[in-house]
């Protein structure tokens, strides 16, 4: 799960203070499990160092919360690359995928493409597993089946999400 890419995505809409950033992230992507302050600063300083964000301005007062960050062109390219890259299909992917979809919707990118690309990747893996299963012994088959069922569950989620994209867009877009 990439907090950095999420921050970049959130900043794409408008420059934000560190504090705003944390609150937006907690609210959208990690309700009930807020980020530590340390995680926020560490991530932001890595992004600053890599030139993906810049400090846009300072508010009166002290501390990083008072700094306002803005995304750079390099940052936007980085988000784009991340969004269009399918995740390696594995269990419990949905939080990353969900983040990607929401960010895409918030930033006006085509979210259905993300889902399609992911879907193709999932099915490709399913085909590989199926092939392995067809040639394998019973133990191998059972292991493969476990993977297949999980992959299928993700795929189903992808299909369902694709079917409800409009509904989701209405929610996340201001």
């Amino acid at each position: 799960m990439s907090i950095g890419h999420s921050f970049l995505g959130l900043l794409e809409g408008k420059p934000r203070h560190g504090y705003d950033l944390k609150r937006a992230y907690d609210e959208r992507f990690s309700p009930g499990r807020p980020l530590h302050h340390g995680q926020v600063y560490a991530t932001l300083s890595r992004l600053l160092k890599n030139g993906l964000v810049v400090v846009d301005g300072l508010e009166p007062g002290e501390g990083p919360e008072r700094k306002r960050y803005a995304v750079t062109d390099a940052g936007i390219t980085d988000v784009q690359a991340w969004l269009s890259q399918p995740e390696k299909p594995e269990p419990y992917l949905q939080s990353v995928l969900y983040t990607k979809v929401v960010l895409a919707l918030m930033t006006g990118r085509p979210a259905d493409e993300i889902l399609d690309v992911q879907r193709t990747e999932h099915l490709r893996l399913m085909r590989d597993v199926t092939r392995r299963k067809t040639g394998g012994d019973l133990a191998e088959q059972l292991i493969c089946d476990h993977a297949l069922f999980h992959l299928e569950a993700d795929l189903r989620w992808l299909e369902l999400t694709a079917a409800r994209l409009n509904e989701l867009a209405a929610r996340v877009r201001p």
């Binding site: 399609d116 690309v117 193709t120 099915l123 085909r127 069922f149 992959l151 189903r156």
Partner: protein
């Protein structure tokens, strides 16, 4: 890559005022298994019917082995389906009053093969699909999984170039569904038949070589996009 065997281009089909296909295209190469996926009502079955020459599209062309199916007469299309195509459906496809071996022999007999010879070849296919023991039974007397395997045998007995399978496991449980798909996939590869596999189940689609998604009557070849 081999030459395309079956090419549907920009197919349109209306049922009454309901559009079932709106510019769908699909290319099938010899020997490959293509999964056609999509939600119910997306038009995937209609796409299969058009490709197989069962239904004539309102617009667009279907070309099989260099001949345009969509321009053929009903008689020519029927003959083509008898000789070059095989079919497996979800359910209700076996003639209930014929025994299993007679059901499998039916496509051969429709094409003029003598009864003895047709039933001999039918038995070979029943054995390959591991249902040789139900040859003399009526479809009402066997299980759903056995019935689908008999149907697969019937689809392959003419050694067709393309097998059209419309939700072939739709009425089966996972284990029986897997078995039918394994046997279908294996038999198709052995005979070099291409398979157009319409399904909404990812695990069934995973037996295919590639996937095409039909959405709102249009087909998307996602892998080519990727």
């Amino acid at each position: 890559m081999t030459e395309p065997l079956l090419v549907g281009t920009d197919l349109h089909k209306m049922y009454g005022t309901t559009p079932a296909l709106r510019g769908s295209s699909l290319t099938v190469r010899a020997g490959e298994i293509v999964a056609v996926m999509g939600s119910s009502g997306s038009g995937k079955s209609t796409l299969l019917h058009c490709l197989a020459g069962i239904v004539r599209p309102d617009d667009g062309t279907v070309v099989y082995a260099g001949r345009e199916i969509s321009a053929m007469s009903d008689v020519e299309r029927s003959a083509l389906r008898r000789r070059d195509f095989g079919f497996v459906f979800q359910f209700g496809q076996l003639v209930p009053e014929l025994t299993c071996v007679e059901n499998v022999a039916l496509p051969l007999r429709l094409d003029g093969v003598r009864r003895k010879e047709a039933e001999r070849r039918a038995r070979v296919w029943l054995d390959r699909l591991e249902v040789g023991d139900v040859a003399a039974k009526l479809p009402g007397q066997i299980s759903g999984g056995q019935g689908q395997r008999v149907a697969v045998a019937r689809a392959l007995v003419t050694e067709p170039k393309v097998v059209f399978a419309d939700e072939p496991t739709g009425a089966l449980d996972s284990l029986n569904g897997e078995k039918v798909m394994q046997l279908l996939g294996q038999a198709a590869r052995d005979t070099g038949a291409a398979v157009v596999l319409v399904t909404h189940e990812p695990r069934v689609a995973a037996y295919a070589d590639r996937e095409v998604v039909v959405r709102d009557g249009a087909s998307l070849d996602l892998e080519r996009v990727a």
